[in-house]
Every structure is written in structure tokens, then in C-alpha cells.
């Protein structure tokens, strides 16, 4: 019997209209876990580098995590992977809610979509009954509106729907996939639209079996109580109304202006009232006791949900207040656009107008006020009308298309992807590496286990490490104890810290666990429920695989390296691994490049950031080494820098 997994993928070819249920290899879970890990393998094997993002041969993969559907709490993040037209690299995207678990209860671990439908369709999965259905009547419908219409049409309120809005239909690069007030961003909505797939509706009523029922249930209940009963997990900003962190430290407009003393008690009181006057409730995702999503009903808009910084991006880009974000978010959700990148694209366009690179002629009938302009440009972008048709290709690509000096205003992207608008003074070495080398594109998807800043006194640091169960190795306690300033830390320690931060995200994104109870949250307080010291046990009890810390760490390295190989094969090289030049005011190119070299060596990659044969073989990725050599990307016998053999030897830096 297959434990924790359903054991089948659903293969859909939208060009041919074919539907296949394909049994998967039970041995792969130990190596690639599930979710993004096993999706990376499919993309490596089936999407060669000459396949363009808009080719019918590009795959769009919806993956459940290995722990979805089991009693393990907060295992509910669905991974969506494809090749992004914005970056030409592998898209990394996740969304919370109920979709992944429902898909697994329907009997599938993944939906693998290829081809393109002739016109809009939606996919209906009801256990073994799978249909590609006409969706032309849903054309132009909002994302949650689409979900509602499909539920009514199927006469089943229990189906879980993931849908695109107008932005996805029109192949806007910032398009998202929306589900239950959760959203998958970073280059997946555009491909769903390109495949003419308006929505996927899933209903599942099958059992998921686990290897050690009583053992898993017991530990799951302990974790459930820990998550629900502590403030070390979940989004504390759902309940803490003090958001001085984002407003005083992040940059406003087109990632330009920092307003250090923006936050005030008066503002907090006013915004808190605004929130509670319009909030229906806070909701949670499948089988998680936290309630991270604020659900807002704003006059004239569909209900929408947000988390954390998601409520700030629009009004900070537009130099407005919270009421503006509330006004535009419901509309943005229905259109299905990412709330991180979209406001930056709009602010970028308005800067070009101010600079005279774009002129009034490019913005016919645009209102004069900032709010009106944001609404105006949102409409233009999602409809690809006029200048919106260019802006819909994201900041980096729009800058190239516009030319005439516009590239200088594309100052906040890395690998052609909009980064968080943060502009600081001195380089934080770990953040340099994470932003430079990250393939999940947003720092929030890479950082998270090791605290961003040192605690001021040795006593406070000692108190912190005394309760720090999450550390995979005692050396991290030493790093934390001895760190006085954020930028004063050895390169060796920096590599270790980045490695640990990455590890947790790669594991979460393959098991389906939420970063707010694991990878992202430990940096704030250290008390996350899931960490390297207990996830192996949860996996073992759920799957029957004899998982341990070393094996799990190796699985992370394998998946991380495989994603890198997908991207290296598509042209990613050292020259692309640069944080925005103005991310920090004070830079030291030589020291940064030296750190980057050390990180590559630490990872077992060559000086261009390409994994060596030795590294690939150690991670059971010999097939990747053969392929990279055949393509001339790796020179035969290129074994410079062997990398780290295992977690236990990571201290011995090569």
C-alpha cells in the first residue's frame, strides 16, 4: 500500500484533449519528497531548454506536498511550477487553502498539464471522473466569481477551485492563480492563461493512508497544539496591529523612498479601526489552527483576503494609506494579479512619465491623482491595452521594450524579477547570497530560519538559544551567540546560514508545509513547530520511509541542485546572480564576489554556479551530469570544488 501519497499523477494534454491517470514510482518520494521537488524532476526530464515558456510543450504542474492529506497540521500549500516567460527560468509558486489536500483525496499527487486548449476550458476532477469542460462562458469573470459559478454549475459547494482572472486570460506576466483568498504568484497565472485553462475544480472523497497511524496522529496533535497555542507560529501581523516594520523600513513608490518615522500611534489607531470596521473574520487553511488571513469586505468589491505585507504593497507604491489598498485589493484579486510585483510595475510606469521617458500620450485620459492612476493602469495592464500591453510584461521586459533610458528605472529586479522594495545601508552578507543566488525569486521564499538581526546583549542571545529547538546543528547557536552586528559574520558562517535557510524552504515546498509554521517563521522568535529535528520523524510516520536528518538534508540538496540544473540549462550563470545594485548603499564588489565564490564552492558548484559532476553524482543526479556534459554546459571531468558531503561535515569548509 502507498502511504501518504495517492500514487498517481493526472496527465492532461489540452491540445489533444487527453486525460491519463499515471502510476508514479514509489521510490521517488525518498529522493524528491513531492511538491516542488518531484515537479523539478518532471521539468528537468520533460521540458528541455529549447522549449519556450509559451510553447505547448511547457508543462504547468500543480503538486500536492508529500504530507498533504495526512494528519500533519498546516500541510496544505500547493506548489505550481512551470517555465516563466518573465525570467525564462523555472517558476516557483505556492498557494495555501484546501486545493492540494482535496486533490490528494481525489486520488492524485499531481496534475501535469501540457498543450494548449483551442479556447477557454476548465478541468473538473471528481475522483476518477475527470473532464475538460468548456469555459467560454467564464471569459472575463473574476477569479473568486469563477469559483462560485463553477460550484453552482456543478451543484457542489465542496469542490475546491483554483482560477485565473482577466490578467491570466490576457497572459499578463504578473498574473496569479487564485483559490480561496490565497494566491499563487511568480509566473504561473500567465501560463495557465496561455494554456487557455480558466480553472481547475477538484472534489475528492478517497482515503489517504499513513504508515504509522497512531504514531503520526499523536505527534500531529502535539504539533497542532503547539501551532495553535503559541505565538511562535503563524502570521503575527494578523493580530498585531503595529506594522511599523514594513512602513518605516521598506521603500515607497517605485522602490525609492524610505520614510523612517512614518508609523505613529495615531495612524495605528485609525488603521486598526478601519480594519475591524471592514473585516468579516480571520480564516485559516486546511487543518491548521492559525488564522493568518484577514478577510475584508469593502463596499463595491468582492471579499478578499490578505496576509502580512500583502496589505501594504499597493498603498506604499502609490504613497497612499491603507484604505487605498483595501479599495484596490478586491479588484486585483478578481483580475488575478500578484500584489507584490504589480504595484511596482505601476509605480515604475508613473516614474517613467515623470522622467519624460513616457509621455501623456502614452496614458490617454489618465486621472491626475495617484489613486486614480493606479486604478487606471491596473485596467490597462489586465486588458493589455495601450501602454498596459507593454507593462504587462513586467518591469524588466517593459524597460527593454520602452528603451530610451527606461532601463535605468528598472532598478529593483534580479534575474528580471521584481524584488521586495528594500533599500538599506550596509550589506548583510547572508542576504547578499540569498538574493543573488535564490531561485525562488522572492527573499521571503528563501530567508527565514536564522534571525535577520542579532539580539543586543549576550544575555538575550543566550536566552534565545537555550530554547532554540529548530537548529539542525549546534554551530548555529555559536554563530548567533557571537554575532554582534548584522554585517559582521564570517563567510563560512554565512554559507552555513544561507544553506539552512534554503533547506527549510526546499523541504516545506516539497512536503507542502507552510512557511509560517516552519521555514519562514523561525527567524522571528525561533519557536517554529516544524524543523529539521522533527520533520524527518513526521515523514517517516506518514510514509514508512526511514527518513532521518541526514537523508532529509540530502533531499534538500538534491532538489536545490536539480532546480539549479534546470535553470543553468536555460542559461543562468554567475553574471545573473546580482542583487539590485542599490539594494545597499555601501557596496564592496570584491568582497561580494569572493563570498559568492565561496558559496559556489560550498555548494559544490563551479565558478559559474554550475553543479559539478562530483556533486551531481553524490546527489544521485548522474543523469543531470551526463546531460549537462552532452550539452557542453559542463566540461567532462570538471570536478573543481566537490562541495560538502553531508550535514555532519558542513563545518569543514572546502
Amino acid at each position: 500500500m502507498r502511504y501518504a501519497e495517492a500514487g498517481f499523477d493526472l496527465e492532461i494534454d489540452l491540445s489533444r484533449g487527453s486525460i491519463e491517470k499515471v502510476a508514479t514510482d514509489p521510490d521517488l518520494a525518498e529522493f524528491y519528497l513531492g511538491g516542488q521537488g518531484s515537479a523539478a524532476k518532471l521539468i528537468y526530464e520533460r521540458v528541455p531548454p529549447d522549449v519556450d515558456a509559451f510553447s505547448p510543450d511547457n508543462l504547468l504542474i500543480f503538486s500536492t506536498g508529500l504530507l498533504h492529506g495526512t494528519p500533519a497540521p498546516a500541510a496544505n500549500r500547493t506548489a505550481v511550477n512551470t517555465i516563466s516567460p518573465q525570467t525564462n527560468l523555472m517558476s516557483h509558486s505556492l498557494f495555501g487553502g484546501f486545493f492540494g489536500p482535496e486533490l490528494k483525496y481525489a486520488g492524485y499527487d499531481k496534475i501535469v498539464i501540457r498543450g494548449k486548449a483551442p479556447d477557454l476550458v476548465y478541468l473538473y476532477i471528481n475522483n476518477d471522473k475527470v473532464e475538460i469542460r468548456d469555459a467560454t462562458h467564464l471569459r472575463g469573470k473574476g477569479s473568486t466569481e469563477t469559483g462560485d459559478l463553477i460550484k453552482k454549475e456543478l451543484n457542489d459547494q465542496k469542490v475546491q477551485v483554483a482560477a485565473i482572472g482577466l490578467a491570466g486570460e490576457n497572459r499578463v506576466y504578473m498574473a496569479s492563480i487564485e483559490h480561496n483568498h490565497a494566491s499563487a504568484a511568480r509566473g504561473v497565472g500567465v501560463i495557465m492563461g496561455d494554456k487557455r485553462l480558466k480553472a481547475i475544480a477538484v472534489r475528492g472523497t478517497k482515503d489517504i493512508n499513513v504508515a504509522n497511524p497512531a504514531g503520526l496522529f499523536e505527534i500531529s496533535q502535539e504539533l497542532h497544539q503547539k501551532i495553535g497555542g503559541s505565538d511562535g507560529n503563524g502570521d503575527w501581523m494578523a493580530v498585531d496591529e503595529d506594522d511599523s516594520f514594513h512602513h518605516n523600513h521598506f521603500a515607497w513608490g517605485n522602490a525609492r523612498t524610505r520614510i523612517k518615522n512614518y508609523w505613529s500611534p495615531e495612524l495605528q489607531e485609525r488603521w486598526t479601526k478601519l480594519k475591524y470596521d471592514h473585516m468579516d473574520r480571520q480564516t485559516g487553511c486546511y487543518n491548521c489552527p492559525k488564522k493568518c488571513r484577514n478577510v475584508i469586505k469593502w463596499p463595491g468589491r468582492q471579499r478578499f483576503g490578505y496576509k502580512c505585507y500583502g496589505k501594504d504593497t499597493y498603498h506604499m507604491a502609490a504613497f497612499q494609506e491603507l484604505d487605498f489598498s483595501y479599495d484596490i485589493l478586491g479588484l486585483a484579486q478578481e483580475y488575478g494579479v500578484d500584489s507584490y510585483s504589480t504595484p511596482q510595475v505601476i509605480a515604475f510606469a508613473l516614474e517613467l512619465l515623470e522622467a519624460g521617458i513616457l509621455t501623456d500620450k502614452d496614458f490617454p485620459d489618465m486621472p491626475a491623482d495617484s489613486r486614480g492612476r493606479f486604478f487606471y493602469l491596473l485596467e490597462k495592464i489586465v486588458r493589455r491595452e495601450g501602454i498596459g500591453d507593454i507593462l504587462a510584461n513586467s518591469v524588466s521586459q517593459a524597460a527593454k521594450q520602452i528603451g530610451n533610458g527606461a532601463e535605468a528605472y528598472d532598478h529593483n529586479t534580479t534575474k528580471k524579477f521584481e524584488q521586495l522594495p528594500i533599500k538599506l545601508g550596509k550589506v548583510n552578507p547572508a542576504y547578499f547570497l540569498m538574493i543573488a543566488t535564490g531561485e525562488k525569486m522572492s527573499i521571503t521564499q528563501i530567508e527565514g530560519s536564522f534571525p535577520q538581526d542579532p539580539l543586543p546583549t549576550r544575555e538575550e542571545r543566550e536566552e534565545f538559544v537555550s530554547k532554540w529547538d529548530a537548529v539542525p546543528d549546534e554551530k548555529f547557536k555559536d554563530y548567533f551567540l557571537n554575532r554582534e552586528k548584522r554585517n559582521e559574520i564570517s563567510d563560512e558562517a554565512t554559507c552555513d546560514i544561507v544553506d539552512w535557510n534554503e533547506a527549510m524552504h526546499y523541504i516545506d515546498d516539497s512536503t507542502g508545509l507552510c512557511g509560517f509554521v516552519s521555514s519562514f517563521r523561525g527567524q522571528f522568535g525561533g519557536g517554529v513547530a516544524y524543523h529539521m529535528n522533527n520533520i524527518p520523524q513526521v515523514i517517516s510516520l506518514a510514509t514508512g520511509i526511514a527518513m532521518d536528518k541526514e537523508k532529509l538534508w540530502k533531499a534538500f540538496q538534491r532538489i536545490r541542485t536539480l532546480v539549479r540544473a534546470v535553470n543553468v540549462r536555460r542559461g543562468l550563470r554567475r553574471k545573473d546572480e546580482r542583487p539590485p545594485e542599490d539594494h545597499w548603499a555601501v557596496r564592496d564588489e570584491e568582497a561580494e564576489q569572493e563570498l559568492l565564490s565561496k558559496y559556489y564552492a560550498f555548494k559544490g558548484w563551479n565558478s559559474e554556479g554550475i553543479p559539478t559532476r562530483q556533486t551531481l553524482e553524490r546527489l544521485d543526479l548522474g543523469y543531470v551530469a551526463d546531460d549537462l556534459e552532452q550539452r557542453g554546459i559542463l566540461a567532462a571531468g570538471d570536478n573543481a570544488a566537490g562541495g560538502q558531503a553531508a550535514l555532519s561535515q558542513k563545518g569543514e569548509f572546502q
Partner: protein, 185 residues
């Protein structure tokens, strides 16, 4: 036994629909607890508690599986509570033909909440235990019941009465007369 007032423990699960976050941990835990062997499978479709949810309407109502009924209602109330409309079905725990709640997905048999009164009984039902937002809370209440005296009746009497109720006294007497076994005795 003398007839008269007795006390009985009534078990109640209080539902605060304003506190429900829609996470469905109750469904997960119920289905695991009632799996055979216990916890061996997870399947919310087998749960005896379901959260009726509609995020567009901000509606989250946990309902508990009640009795099986072979027929649909002949009509339904629409309730308006705090400005939001709810169908009567959102509060009804019946396992009925009009929907697939509380029906075993593979056997089609009805499911009914047993308040986790298994052996040994849980201190509080599983769904309440996992609900950390207090949308579900458990209360035991002693109520005084004025029990009516019941006549003790034999199996033959009960059986015959059932047959008489269904077919009439004449038909039962006729059948008895015609039965060869009756003649032989």
C-alpha cells in the same frame, strides 16, 4: 423499577459560527478517529462533522451528522442572520438524498455522530479537541427527566404487534391459520 424523575447527562457541542476559521481540522480528526483501524486513514468525506463553507458569503457553519432520512425536505427556510443569508441545509445534520454529506463515500451508508462515545469514551469529542479557535466547545449538562413507566413486553408480543400494525389483525390471523407449522403444533 419505580417510575419517577431521573437525571440524564446531555452532551452538547456548542457552535460559535463567528469563531470558525473554516480550517476543517475537525473533519480531519473525526475521519481519522473513526477509521478502522483507528487513525489509519484520513478522509474528510467520511467525517461526521462538516464545515459548510462559502467564502463568498463569509459563511462557515460546522454541522454534526444526525439521523438518516430517506426523503428530502418538501421545502426549505432561508434564514437571514446578521444580514447574511443561510439555507436551512447549512444547519441541518440529516444524512439525506439531497446532498452527499454524511454518507460513506464507498458504501453509501449513512454516517452519524456518536459524540466519540467509543470504548474508552473520550473526555470530549475529537472535533472539539482539535478546534483551537473555540468555534466548537463541549458542555455536559445534567437534566431531570420525568420518565414514563414502561411495560415489559415479550418478544412475541412486540413482533406480533408490528405485524398487526402493518397488515391488520385479520391478515395476521389468516396467515397463522394457513401456516403448516401452526397446524402441526
Amino acid at each position: 423499577m419505580k417510575p419517577g424523575p431521573t437525571t440524564k447527562t446531555v452532551k452538547e457541542i456548542k457552535v460559535d459560527i463567528d469563531k470558525c476559521t473554516g480550517c476543517r481540522a475537525c473533519e480531519m480528526a473525526c475521519s481519522a478517529y473513526h477509521a478502522q483501524p483507528r487513525y489509519s486513514s484520513i478522509n474528510p468525506a467520511r467525517s461526521r462533522i462538516r464545515v459548510i463553507s462559502d467564502e463568498l458569503n463569509d459563511e462557515y457553519v460546522p454541522i454534526r451528522a444526525g439521523d438518516y432520512t430517506p426523503a428530502e425536505c418538501n421545502g426549505r427556510h432561508i434564514y437571514t442572520i446578521n444580514g447574511k443569508q443561510y439555507s436551512e441545509c447549512s444547519f441541518c445534520g440529516a444524512s439525506c438524498p439531497s446532498r452527499d454529506y454524511f454518507i460513506e463515500p464507498d458504501s453509501g451508508l449513512p454516517l452519524k455522530c456518536d459524540m466519540c462515545e467509543s470504548v474508552p469514551a473520550l473526555a470530549e469529542p475529537m472535533c472539539v479537541k482539535v478546534c483551537m479557535t473555540d468555534a466548537l466547545t463541549y458542555v455536559e449538562r445534567e437534566v431531570v427527566r420525568d420518565e414514563k413507566p414502561q411495560q415489559k413486553r415479550g418478544q412475541i408480543e412486540v413482533g406480533l404487534e408490528a405485524l398487526i400494525n402493518q397488515y391488520g389483525l385479520e391478515a395476521v390471523i389468516d396467515s397463522l391459520k394457513q401456516m403448516p407449522q401452526a397446524k402441526n403444533h
